[in-house]
């Protein structure tokens, strides 16, 4: 077993140990962090590895969440099929958005993704009859069960989140170490050179965006199941910005960076909001400091100083 795999398995093992030792409050928070970290991992595939900055990832998270929630609520689907529908919705949406948005580059891509996400958000509000708009809806307990597993209980929720997280982390490790994953990095580093090495850079970007949508959708659908709520706020602008921040803070283009970034930001907001009402100011200042002094993010710093082998 190589040290990369060992490191990732150690992280998973550590999270399992936390399950046994954490007090109730943090136990719930870490479950939430693990689900959101999958969203960050998805964002990182596109931004960190392929160099494409999207400002519209809330739409993929929401597509997973609503795909799951609406099919359970209105079509009576059981939890597992509803979960798969959520992932499918997000993946298909990412593919279609990619076909259109990838005709643009740089700032154009940012704006087009932002506009698609806004259109998605407004669509949710427009169909308020089904989606309950801003208010959202609470999933019934029948949509939060699988066999004997009741995802509304703390232990099951934590372990389900850990399963999702582990699967996503190992899948991502596999993706970025694959041939195609290396080409994604080549596209990020120098697209023209990658093209002149015979790689279809456009399809590589579409592949990255589609995978990114898949991860984001899996995160959104799981969030609905584990926390029982589906609401339009998850489709709004902040949820497009969060994954970007998590990835930047943790370290773009590293497999574990988004996990660290998500946990760090989550606890920073949690702590700051206990101290002051102006907690977003604390968050803002932290971000400015990190961008100025640690441009590679937390893990980027560790990697460049101590361990270049970290993927």
């Amino acid at each position: 077993m190589n040290r990369n795999l060992a490191l990732h398995l150690a992280v998973i093992a550590a999270l399992y140990i936390l399950h046994l030792t954490l007090p109730a409050y943090h136990h719930g928070q870490v479950a939430r962090i693990m689900v959101l970290a999958v969203f960050a991992m998805g964002y990182n595939i596109l931004f960190g590895y392929s160099g494409l900055l999207s400002l519209g990832h809330a739409m993929f998270f929401a597509a997973g969440m609503y795909g799951m929630g609406l099919s359970a609520q209105h079509l009576g689907f059981a939890t597992l099929p509803a979960f798969l529908i959520g992932i499918l919705c997000a993946t298909a949406l990412a593919f279609v958005v990619g076909l259109l948005a990838l005709r643009t580059i740089g700032v154009g891509f940012m704006i087009v993704t932002l506009m698609f996400a806004q259109a998605g958000y407004l669509t949710i509000l427009y169909f308020g009859e089904y989606t309950r708009g801003d208010e959202g809806f609470v999933l019934t307990n029948t949509a939060r069960n699988f066999g004997n597993l009741d995802f509304s209980t703390a232990d099951t929720r934590y372990l389900a989140a850990l399963c999702l997280f582990s699967g996503a982390l190992l899948l991502k490790l596999l993706i970025v170490r694959s041939k195609r994953g290396r080409v994604m990095v080549a596209v990020r580093e120098n697209e023209e050179r990658a093209r002149m090495l015979g790689y279809n850079t456009w399809s590589t970007k579409l592949y990255a965006l589609t995978l990114s949508g898949l991860f984001s959708g899996a995160s959104g659908a799981s969030y609905a199941i584990l926390f029982g709520y589906v609401g339009a706020s998850f489709a709004a602008v902040p949820y497009s910005i969060f994954p970007l921040l998590w990835v930047l803070v943790g370290g773009a283009g590293t497999t574990l960076g988004p996990v660290i970034g998500t946990a760090f930001m989550f606890y920073l907001i949690d702590y700051a909001s206990g101290v002051t009402d102006a907690y977003m100011l604390v968050v803002g200042v932290t971000l400015v400091l990190i961008t100025l002094f640690v441009p590679g993010g937390i893990l980027g710093l560790v990697k460049s100083r101590f361990a270049r082998w970290i993927p």
Binding site: E192, M196, L197, N200
Partner: protein, 239 residues
């Protein structure tokens, strides 16, 4: 069409606004040849090879490669059919290490296990003399070494046709010697089209020379013929 030809262009033309950078060029390159493409600055050499590789679209004319019409293929498909291209202005992956740069070039058409790809990459690095720098970040290498890395990326693709756009620019005397040795070595299995300003390199490497001026081919022949050609002297000396 001559069946011995690896590359052929017919009436290849490219306009940029009112300027015709490549004008009605009929060019052919035999399989296994080392050909130099020379001409004064602005003659259209880089534009010509950009049309061949698909970096720029032709305004009119035809290009065929390995007996197939590739005029309308996108660049990456032409490369995948067996062209290698090294840029005039060094174009590498500056934030990746040397090894990864060559590995990326080698992996596309490499068949076999990862271990073999790894040793193949090491062999290419060895061949251009960069093996000791393999873990260095490419962007931190000296300019001459970046040029060699670029050539290594060309070789790693094992192309049928390797197009080198001013490869010796910025290389020191000793490095140029090594470069010429390297090109002779790979020319057994690769056809080479070389754009070059260093006449010593051109005269000693090329079997045949094509001279361009103002978008047209003005002369073609062996090094001796070209040296004696009046039109070439006029183009170079501006006489």
């Amino acid at each position: 069409m001559d069946t011995m030809n690896l590359l052929e262009t017919q009436k290849l033309t490219r306009h940029f606004g009112g300027i015709t950078a490549v004008d009605d060029v009929n060019f052919s390159l035999k399989d296994g040849e080392i050909r130099a493409l020379i001409g004064p600055n602005g003659a259209g050499k880089t534009t010509f090879v950009s049309l061949v590789t698909g970096r720029i679209e032709a305004s009119s004319g035809r290009i065929s490669f390995a007996h197939e019409d590739i005029t309308h293929l996108p660049a990456h498909k032409r490369i995948a059919r067996g062209m290698g291209y090294t840029f005039q202005i060094t174009s590498i992956f500056p934030d990746l290490d040397c090894f990864e740069n060559v590995h990326l070039a080698a992996q596309r058409n490499f068949e076999g296990p990862a271990r073999k790809l790894y040793s193949f990459t090491r062999m290419i690095l060895e061949q251009v003399g960069l093996n000791t720098y393999r873990t260095d970040i490419a962007g931190d290498l000296a300019y001459g070494h970046q040029r060699l890395l670029e050539i290594a990326m060309g070789l790693a693709q094992r192309p049928k046709l390797l197009i080198l756009d001013e490869p010796t620019q910025g290389l020191a005397g000793g490095e140029i010697k090594d470069f010429m040795h390297l090109i002779r070595e790979v020319s057994d299995r690769t056809t080479i089209l070389l754009i070059e300003h260093n006449m010593d390199v051109v005269m000693s490497l090329a079997e045949k020379i094509t001279v361009m001026d103002q978008g047209k081919i003005i002369a073609e022949g062996t090094p001796e013929e070209i040296q004696a050609n009046e039109a070439v002297q006029t183009a170079y000396l501006g006489g």
